[in-house]
Subunit: 355 residues, 2 copies
DNA sequence: CTGTTAGCGCTTTCAA
DNA sequence: TTGAAAGCGCTAACAG
């Protein structure tokens, strides 16, 4: 049972070894490595042969030190829903790799004390080239301030309403919520309940606005008794749906502003002995994995999270390039990604008459 | 709208600045930074004051270059279930931070071609100090070989049956499956169906063994018609459950070897007009987030994934310390984490008589 | 097109 | 207990 350990110093060949092997200077090897144009084809091939023969791999730390950039991107993680982080990673990881960056996930939960301080420290010590910030961290003023103070480039994903001009990837939450509500109206529903998300979350307001937009356009009155407050959690969805369904004139459809609450609404519907979608239509927002892991499967709005994450990486990489090139001003600040309505089994036309 | 960018070279103070400010040499600052003992208390305080005043943060790249270690741990990601990766991150992230490491998530999906080659490259170039490997990557021979070739320390999480002596964190899948089956037997079930996972997954076999163990111990015959094959996916669970429930003598309980398939079994049960748990008990394995996001909520086996991830980080950090200290031989190679049965609403005693 | 020189910021070694 | 010197491996800047 031999104990293998990494040698204390560089394991393999260094750039000097390669240079010697190829009969050139280290600088030429460096040029080949970085695909610079001004190297004679024959020389390039000789160097590449040497690289292959010696199985040479550049040392990232040395490169970072010399170039003053690290090719690490930070992802500020704060325990959002499982489906969200999962998709986020899928999108961000692939694109990062293609763009030549590594993705460092940093937990910045409010779980610990002084976390805002420790984030600030982390950001300065970690030497990220840039940072991707998904919700809810992307709306944390302290984090943004720390980022600005450190002069660290960042791109936010689905931030709260445009409270500033920082670069971001957004969806058309309001438009999507409106389209979903239109869909319910087209099915024939008139008493459409809505479960709101937390006030603190910008998306909550946007989605609620979209719902209101659609009702207003259709000339349907927006009754206060049809709107309940939730907190984007399963538990809060249970209570909100229960309130909606216990009202004297219950809605024939419920639009929950995220999937977790929609799933809770389905459970509550069942507990009220209602057939879904026969007696009650329920739709959600997000298309998390649970949307298809329940019965009946959930009609919902699909946010292309993976795409958004990938675009965020692209935008950040582009900005980093531009910073080096000095053309940052020309870079776009906002990219909008469209969402779709996914019709599944939890929605149907209302039965004739109420109840 | 000022355009802030990170200066091309080091933004803040360097170790030299601190040294000058404190009236000592850079070496002394370095000693304070690394909490070495041989610094006079007064000097230490002076240095620390200077660090604070200049808001100095060490440059990780420089440190890595000089020390030949990076304080980065790799996490080899291959798109497992959303709940899994989410919990994994929660556990690994917190512990990494405490241990002073950063966590770099590397996608190593079979999505791309030559991915095994590219992983091997990535591992050598990335300069990780060590690597955490969750399933399914932890059972990929090519990846393990690349790791060994690179001499990179690693810890595997829930690997396939002990096919070698590499360090690992494991659960008692077989014992847990047996306890779950015992629970069903105690409820009074005798016709207990089982939905297997894919052959390739070591856990599948272990869980099935546990099921068999319990039946054998209880003197209940293990009928072939009560066992269906699945692939740990929702879709495969639908088909497997349908096969089980369409048999002439259907089971009164189904033990699906993961939650996704159990959730599918619940959906299938509903489609067969069966009340759950009144007419059909269904239990799962994993306790992913969907387990509580459905109706009825799922009785299942809870694998403490976050704990396992945290322990993996600890074990890896310990091994890295030992490598530096030369005491690697004494390090434990395997840590076992227990799992629990979580009883929820999808299980109950069988009704009298069949059907 | 290629090489030389001089660091990047930190730590190791050795000497004081 | 402290400091001086010499790199770690790579790349910018300049020279040829």
């Amino acid at each position: 049972m031999s104990v293998k350990t990494r040698a204390n110093k560089q394991t393999g060949a260094t750039i000097k070894d390669v240079a010697q092997h190829a009969g050139v200077s280290a600088m030429t090897v460096s040029r080949v490595l970085n695909a610079e144009p001004n190297v004679r084809e024959e020389t390039r091939e000789r160097v590449q042969a040497a690289i292959r023969e010696l199985n040479y791999r550049p040392n990232l730390s040395a490169r970072s030190l010399a170039r003053a950039n690290t090719y690490f991107l930070g992802l500020l993680y704060d325990n959002p829903s499982a489906g969200y982080i999962s998709e986020l990673l899928i999108g961000a990881l692939n694109r990062s790799r293609k763009a030549g960056y590594h993705l460092v996930v940093e937990s910045c939960g409010a779980a610990e004390q002084d976390w805002e301080d420790s984030i600030a420290n982390m950001l300065r010590t970690s030497n990220f080239d840039g940072v991707i910030i998904p919700p809810p961290v992307c709306d944390n003023a302290a984090v943004l301030a720390a980022l600005d103070a450190a002069g660290l480039p960042y791109v936010r994903i689905s931030p709260d309403v445009e409270n500033d001009a920082a670069p971001r990837i957004v969806t058309d939450d309001r438009a999507a919520a409106r389209r979903m509500t239109d869909y319910l109206l087209e099915l024939g529903h008139r008493r459409i309940g809505f479960i709101r998300g937390p006030e603190t979350h910008g998306a909550s307001r946007e989605r609620f606005q979209g719902y209101c937009d659609a009702l207003a356009a259709a000339g349907v009155e927006a009754e206060a008794s049809l709107v309940a407050d939730g907190a984007f959690t399963y538990r809060s969805g249970l209570e909100a749906a229960d309130a909606l369904l216990s009202a004297p004139q219950r809605p024939t459809a419920i639009f929950a502003s995220n999937d977790d609450m929609a799933v809770a609404a389905i459970a509550t519907g069942h507990r009220h002995q209602l057939d879904i979608p026969g007696e009650l239509t329920i739709v959600g927002f997000d298309d998390t994995q649970t949307a298809t892991a329940i019965w009946p499967q959930l009609t919902t709005v699909r946010q292309p999270i993976a795409t958004m994450a990938a675009e965020a990486v692209d935008m950040l990489a582009d900005r980093l390039d531009r910073i080096r090139a000095g053309t940052l001003e020309e870079a776009p600040l906002c990219q909008e990604i469209g969402s779709d309505i996914i019709v599944r089994d939890s929605s149907a036309a209302p039965r004739d008459g109420t109840r």
